[in-house]
C-alpha cells in the first residue's frame, strides 16, 4: 500500500511537472549543481533522472563540504564560462553572493510563474530570506525554524510537575520566557543516583544543551535567536555599524551564561550538531535548535529518545513582554548569473520541479519531509501526525525574522563566536566587555566602507515578488 501511495504521488508529480517544460525541450542542455550533502539535496539527487525524462536536460549534482562552499561558489561565479549553472545557497550568504553578482535575479521568473509554483502557498519569510535589496536571488528548497525541543514525557510526569510547582510556584510547561527556560534547566539538572520521573538515574542528566563552541560560529547561532527574542538588532539603522552590544544582546549573553551551569560539562566544545545529540540520546530536558535536526527525535534509527521517552516541540522562548520572533533560515537553489540564457531557462525549470509543492509532499510522504515551506503541507493533518512539530513550525513563522544576511556575515559569525566563547569560559570579565570587543572588531572592518554602502547592506526591503 505504501509503495502504491508513493507511485500515485510520483505520478502526480510527473503530471504536474509536465507543465514545467515539455518533454525533450532541453535535450541539448547539461546542468551541473554545486551543492552540499544537505537533505534538500540528498533527497533530490537520486531522482534527477525523472527531470531528464521530463525535459531532456541532464542534471549532475556535485556535493561538497559546507565549510568552503561559499568560496567555491564565488570563484565559480567569477568564470565567464561556468562549470556549474545551479548553486545551493544558505540564506545568510545572499549578501556576499548579491554583492558579487554571482546569482541570477529570479524575481521576474517567480512573478511570471507565480501560479505554477503556488507562490501564495509558500511561507513568505522563506522567500524574504533569499532576497538581496528586494530582489529574489534563490528559491527555497528547504525551510528551517529555530524552536525548542523538550522531554514531553518528563514534563507530563505527575511527580515532576508537583515538584516543579512547589519549587517555582507555577506549572511545568514548555518555557515561554527565558527566565522560565532557566528555571526548567535548573530543575531538571540532576546527578547520577538522583531520581527522575520515578527512576534512579544511572548517569548525570542535564537541564539544557546549548552550543557554546566557537567552531563554525556555533555559539553565535545560538546567541542570535535569543538576542532577537529580546528585541535586539544586528545593525544600527543610522550608521550601518554593529549594534550587537546593546541591552538586548547583553540580556541574551547573560541568559547563555546562566544556562552554563545546567549544560553538559563539555559545553564549550558543543557544536550545533553534537549539542543536538544530547537531546537525541535523551540526556537533556530541553534544547533549542534548527528544525532540520528535529526529525531525528522521532526516528529510533538515529536517536535513542524515541525508545526511552517522547519529544515535545514548542516555539523558542522570548524576552519578557516581547512577541515571539522566531528565527528562520532557508536552504535554497540559485542560478549562476554567468550561465547562458538557455542554461538559465533549464535551471529554472529544474528549480521549479525540485522545489514544487507536489515534490515536497512526496518527500514528506517518503520520510524526508523535515524541512518544509508550504503552508498547506505544514498544516496537513495527516502529515502533522507523522511530523508532530509541523504545527509549531507553521505557527512560529507568522512573526518570524530573517537571519543575518550582511556581506560580513562570516566575520560576525567568527568574531562573536570567539568573544562569546571566551566570556562563557570565564576568560572575559563581563558580557559587556565581550560584546564591545566583538562589535569593535566588526566595526573596524566596516568603517573602511562609506556609510551609504553600509546602510545599503543592512536594508531589507520587502521582496518585489510580492508587489
Amino acid at each position: 500500500m505504501k509503495h502504491f501511495k508513493t507511485l500515485v504521488v510520483a505520478g502526480a508529480v510527473s503530471l504536474v511537472c509536465g507543465g514545467l517544460a515539455s518533454a525533450g525541450e532541453f535535450d541539448d542542455v547539461e546542468l551541473k549543481m554545486l551543492a552540499i550533502g544537505d537533505t534538500s539535496v540528498t533527497r533530490l539527487a537520486p531522482i534527477v533522472g525523472e527531470f531528464e525524462e521530463l525535459t531532456g536536460a541532464k542534471v549532475q549534482i556535485d556535493q561538497f563540504p559546507y565549510p568552503g562552499l561559499i568560496d567555491k561558489i564565488v570563484i565559480e561565479a567569477s568564470a565567464n564560462t561556468p562549470s556549474y549553472q545551479l548553486m545551493w545557497v544558505d540564506s545568510p550568504w545572499v549578501g556576499v553572493l548579491g554583492e558579487s553578482g554571482a546569482l541570477e535575479d529570479l524575481t521576474d521568473l517567480v512573478k511570471r510563474d507565480a501560479a505554477e509554483i503556488n507562490l501564495d502557498d509558500i511561507v513568505p519569510i522563506q522567500l524574504q530570506e533569499n532576497t538581496w535589496q528586494g530582489r529574489l536571488l534563490a528559491f527555497p528548497a528547504s525551510g528551517m525554524i529555530w524552536h525548542q525541543n523538550y522531554r514531553k514525557d518528563l514534563y507530563e510526569h505527575p511527580d515532576e510537575q508537583a515538584a516543579f510547582k512547589a519549587k517555582y510556584g507555577y506549572d511545568l510547561a514548555p518555557a515561554q520566557t527565558w527566565d522560565q527556560y532557566i528555571d526548567i534547566a535548573e530543575f531538571f539538572t540532576r546527578k547520577a543516583g538522583d531520581t527522575l520521573a520515578g527512576e534512579t538515574l544511572e548517569k548525570d542528566f542535564y537541564g539544557n544543551a546549548q552550543a557554546y563552541s566557537r567552531v563554525a560560529g556555533a555559539i553565535t547561532h545560538d546567541f542570535f535567536p535569543i538576542m532577537r527574542s529580546f528585541g535586539g538588532q544586528y545593525w544600527d539603522p543610522e550608521t550601518g555599524l554593529c549594534a550587537m552590544d546593546g541591552e538586548a544582546a547583553l540580556a541574551a549573553a547573560e541568559v547563555m551564561k546562566k544556562l552554563v551551569a545546567f549544560n553538559p560539562p563539555d559545553y564549550l566544545g558543543l557544536m550545533w550538531d553534537i549539542r543536538t545529540g544530547y537531546m537525541e540520546r535523551g540526556e537533556t530536558a530541553q534544547s533549542s535548535y534548527w528544525s532540520v535536526r528535529t526529525v531525528r527525535l522521532t526516528n529510533p534509527d538515529e536517536a535513542v529518545l524515541p525508545t526511552i521517552g517522547e519529544a515535545g516541540y514548542a516555539p523558542s522562548p522570548t524576552g519578557d513582554g516581547n512577541a515571539q520572533p522566531t528565527m528562520t533560515g532557508a536552504l535554497s537553489f540559485g542560478i549562476n548569473s554567468k550561465a547562458t540564457e538557455r542554461e538559465k531557462e533549464a535551471a529554472w525549470a529544474f528549480i521549479k520541479w525540485g522545489t514544487s509543492r507536489d515534490m515536497m509532499r512526496r518527500f514528506a510522504n517518503e520520510g524526508s519531509g523535515v524541512s518544509q515551506f508550504h503552508k498547506s503541507i505544514l498544516s496537513d493533518a495527516g502529515l502533522q501526525e507523522k511530523y508532530p512539530y509541523y504545527q509549531v513550525l507553521l505557527d512560529t513563522q507568522e512573526n518570524a525574522q530573517r537571519r543575518i544576511f550582511h556581506p560580513f556575515y562570516a566575520d560576525v559569525e567568527e568574531v562573536f563566536g570567539v568573544e562569546l566563547n571566551k566570556y562563557m569560559a570565564g576568560e572575559t570579565e563581563s558580557a559587556q566587555e565581550a560584546l564591545t570587543n566583538a562589535c569593535t572588531k566588526i566595526n573596524t572592518r566596516l568603517k573602511v566602507f562609506p556609510q551609504d554602502m553600509r546602510l545599503r547592506w543592512i536594508a531589507d526591503p520587502k521582496a518585489e515578488i510580492f508587489n
Binding site: 563540504p65 534548527w290 532540520v292
Partner: protein
C-alpha cells in the same frame, strides 16, 4: 654500552606506553566510531561495548562514488610523488654539483615556492586550469601538488647528494660513464634513503591536501579528503560516515610508509653516525 637496569627499563616502557596512547587514541576513536551505531556515537562516557555496525561503511560507498574518489586521490598522490621525485632529484643533483656562489640562493628560492599560502594562489590556478580545460581533472592536482613537492624534494635530496663522495663519480667517469649514467647508476642508488624520505613526504602531503582539491575539482576529480568532509552539511554532520571514510583514508598512507620504512629509517639516520 651498558644494559639499562630494571628501573630504567620500566621507565622507558612507561614513557613508550604514554606516547603510544597519545598517538593511537585518535586512531582508536576513528576506528571505533566508524562501527558505532549513530544514536550512541557521542555518548558520555563513550560506549566501549556495543554491537558493531558496518552501516557507515555501506552508506559511505552507497551514497557517493567513494571508490572513484579513492582512485582520484591515489592518482593525484602517486602522480605528484613520481613527478616530484623525478624532477626534484635532477634539480637537486644539479644544485649539489654545480659550483657557483649563488647556488645556495637558487636552492632557497626553490624552497620559497613552498611558502605560498594556498588560498592566495587558488584563484589564479582556477583561471589557468579553467582556460586550459584541466579544471576538475587529476592532472591539475598533480601539477599543483608538484609545485609544492618539488621544492621539498630538491631541498631534501640536495643534502643527500652532498653526502655522496665525488670520488665515486670521478671513478665512474674514468670508466666511461656519462653524466646521466653517473647520476642513475652511481649517485641516485647511494641517495636512495633520501628518495624514500622525499617520497613519503610528497605522498602524505598530496594525499592529505584539502584546499586545492576543494576549490579545483568537481565530481570528476574529487579526492577522498573532500569527499569525507562533504558529509558535513548544514543540517547534519554524518560523523559515522566521516569516521568510516577517515579510517579508509588512513590505510594507503600506512601501506606507503611501511613500504618505504626500510629506506626511511636509513634516510632519517643517515649522517648521524660517522
Amino acid at each position: 654500552m651498558n644494559r639499562p637496569n630494571r628501573r630504567q627499563a620500566v621507565l622507558v616502557y612507561l614513557l613508550l606506553a604514554v606516547v603510544l596512547i597519545v598517538f593511537l587514541t585518535p586512531i582508536y576513536i576513528i576506528a571505533s566510531s566508524s562501527v558505532k551505531p549513530t544514536p550512541i556515537m557521542f555518548q558520555k562516557p563513550p560506549a566501549m561495548v556495543f554491537t558493531p555496525t558496518f552501516e557507515h561503511y555501506t552508506q559511505l560507498f552507497a551514497t557517493r562514488p567513494f571508490a572513484k574518489f579513492m582512485l582520484n586521490s591515489l592518482i593525484a598522490a602517486l602522480g605528484s610523488t613520481v613527478f616530484s621525485l623525478t624532477f626534484g632529484s635532477l634539480a637537486a643533483y644539479a644544485i649539489s654539483r654545480i659550483r657557483h656562489k649563488r647556488m645556495n640562493d637558487v636552492a632557497f628560492w626553490i624552497l620559497s615556492m613552498r611558502m605560498f599560502p594556498p588560498i592566495a594562489v587558488v584563484v589564479p590556478y582556477y583561471i589557468i586550469f579553467k582556460a586550459s580545460g584541466l579544471l576538475d581533472t587529476p592532472l591539475a592536482l598533480i601539477i599543483i601538488y608538484s609545485t609544492a613537492n618539488i621544492p621539498l624534494t630538491v631541498w631534501l635530496m640536495k643534502g643527500f647528494f652532498d653526502e655522496v663522495p665525488r670520488a665515486l663519480e670521478e671513478a665512474a667517469a674514468i670508466d666511461g660513464y656519462g653524466l646521466l649514467q653517473i647520476f642513475w647508476y652511481v649517485t641516485l642508488p647511494l641517495a636512495a634513503p633520501g628518495l624514500a624520505v622525499s617520497a613519503v613526504f610528497c605522498f602524505i602531503f598530496s594525499w592529505n591536501e584539502f584546499i586545492f582539491a576543494l576549490m579545483l575539482t568537481g565530481s570528476n576529480a574529487q579526492t577522498v579528503t573532500v569527499a569525507v568532509m562533504s558529509f558535513w552539511s548544514s543540517d547534519a554532520v554524518q560523523w559515522g560516515r566521516i569516521m568510516a571514510g577517515s579510517f579508509i583514508i588512513l590505510i594507503p598512507g600506512v601501506i606507503f610508509v611501511l613500504t618505504c620504512q626500510r629506506w626511511l629509517v636509513r634516510g632519517l639516520t643517515m649522517g648521524s653516525v660517522k
